[in-house]
């Protein structure tokens, strides 16, 4: 079982690493998004400073939304998922490895580069730590919440727009708490972080299970 898990984890990592489109897509999209904000705000540094954190969160949201589409798509279209089901490979392994690899290749780079982007958007450096933690709790939630929705829309016509429309309402609370958390971090209140942590721990338990159920149902 553990062997199988690592086999699949390796497989998912390989699929990201070998396909340079896939691995660089999220982070390069993030970069482009971040670029847009200073360009559209013009020369007003004040405005940029105030909105730096929010802009980074918005970019994180968008790059996650965009990368969600490819989450199960290839395996579903090639019939590989069906093959797994016939071969009785537990879907829990597939779902968990998919989630981990998705986070590693879309969430993690964003978390690590976020302090640089904060400087880039002339945000105050005291926010860097707060932003780091809020992204650390927030981005796994994006991956976790995106999974069941990506699984739901498998086989739908016009999947891309549907996926974005369905995931936005679920992503909204995270982005709200994420941004609020950074703002109250400096004043020493961590309530938003606790809340994000609580949502994260509940989601880690429930959402993979729901995703497995959905996948099984869609391949019945």
């Amino acid at each position: 079982m553990i062997k199988l898990f690592f086999l699949f984890l390796l497989k998912d990592f390989k699929s990201y690493l070998l396909d340079s489109n896939k691995s660089w897509f999220a982070i390069s999209f993030f970069l482009l998004c971040v670029l847009i904000f200073p360009l559209t705000y013009g020369s007003s540094v004040d405005l940029l400073k105030k909105t730096a954190i929010a802009s980074i969160w918005i970019c994180a949201l968008f790059s996650n939304l965009i990368s969600l589409e490819s989450l199960f798509k290839e395996d579903y279209q090639n019939g590989v998922l069906l093959q797994y089901r016939i071969n009785k490979i537990p879907f829990s392994i597939i779902v968990i490895t998919k989630c981990i690899s998705h986070w590693v290749f879309t969430g993690l780079p964003i978390i690590f580069f976020s302090p640089f982007f904060l400087i880039f958007l002339s945000g105050s450096s005291s926010d860097a730590l707060g932003l780091f933690f809020s992204l650390l709790f927030g981005t796994p939630l994006f991956s976790l919440l995106g999974m069941p929705i990506a699984a739901l829309t498998l086989g739908a016509t016009a999947r891309g727009p549907l996926l974005i429309f369905l995931s936005i309402p679920f992503f909204l609370p995270i982005i709200i708490f994420g941004v609020l958390g950074v703002n109250s971090f400096n004043s020493g209140s961590y309530s938003e972080y606790y809340l994000l942590c609580a949502i994260l721990s509940i989601s880690i338990v429930i959402l993979p299970y729901i995703t497995i159920k959905i996948l099984q149902e869609s391949l019945k």
């Binding site: 199988l4 086999l7 497989k11 998912d12 390989k14 699929s15 070998l18 290839e74 090639n78 019939g79 590989v80 069906l82 093959q83 089901r85 016939i86 071969n87 009785k88 490979i89 391949l219 019945k220």
Partner: protein, 261 residues
């Protein structure tokens, strides 16, 4: 070994795709199922292997027996366990895994873990091309992927393999090789094979018996040699004489058959 009795397949609860189809595959045979596009060949295979539900289809009448046990509408993984494996249409390899890993996954359901390495060796002996490939299976050519798919089916130690268009999208040379392997598997391992093909000439060459389908019904059946010499088959499937494509319904042999029913 495998017997389909008068089955009827309905999609989405309303669309009738297969009407009263019966066929039989005896042990050790290669049986081919021929027919034009949309005749219901793939649907028949899916009905047997339990994959119909994935497309909202259902066997509503008749029954399917495998090794004297009824498997109508049962779970695909249960059917695989009982020794029936379907090699699906198109490329169905896990692209980001190596050939060996792919083969190992095929043996995932098996209990005898120790023999797996020996079996991989054995399977690879049938596919000398795959032996040389160490990279990811996503980089294999279409023919090699088809071979890998067959090899993975072999890893599950099936008694019967259903193949859905193994020649699709392959170069003529590779098609020959694949069919040679199919024949070899049948002769040396004694695996029964039900083959669905559009390439009738090749399929008739390797198979013992054949069925010809049209519009969800079997219109002709018999030993491959007889069918290959049948005028109608020659006309439609082997490209014997150039003429306008007529339906089987207008032909004598079909009318004769209809009287039996």
């Amino acid at each position: 070994m495998l017997e389909l009795k008068n089955i009827e397949v309905v999609y989405n609860e309303v669309v009738l795709v297969i009407k009263g189809l019966s066929l039989e595959v005896k042990e050790g045979e290669i049986v081919s199922l021929l027919g034009a596009n949309g005749a219901g060949k793939s649907t028949t295979l899916k009905a047997v292997s339990g994959l119909l539900k994935n497309e909202d289809g259902e066997v509503t009448k008749g029954n399917i027996c495998f090794l004297d046990e009824e498997i109508t509408n049962s779970n695909p993984s249960e059917i695989v366990k009982s020794g029936l494996f379907q090699v699906m249409e198109g490329r169905r390899c896990i692209a980001d895994m190596t050939v060996l890993e792919n083969l190992r996954l095929g043996a995932h359901t098996r209990r005898d873990r120790k023999n797996i390495n020996d079996d991989i060796e054995k399977v690879l002996n049938y596919f000398p091309r795959l032996k040389e490939r160490n990279g990811l299976s996503g980089y294999l050519s279409g023919g090699e992927q088809q071979m890998l798919a067959i090899g993975r089916a072999l890893m599950a130690k099936p008694k019967i393999i259903l193949m859905d268009e193994p020649s699709m999208g392959l170069s003529p040379l590779l098609v020959k090789e694949v069919f040679g392997i199919i024949k070899k598997l049948n002769e040396e391992l004694g695996i029964t094979i039900l083959l669905v093909e559009q390439n009738a000439r090749l399929a008739l060459n390797v198979s013992n018996r054949a069925y010809i389908m049209e519009n969800g019904k079997i219109v002709l059946e018999g030993s491959s040699k007889v069918l290959a010499n049948n005028e109608d088959v020659k006309e439609f499937y082997l490209g014997g004489s150039k003429g306008e494509r007529k339906s089987f319904k207008n032909l004598k042999s079909y009318k004769r058959r209809k009287r039996w029913l």
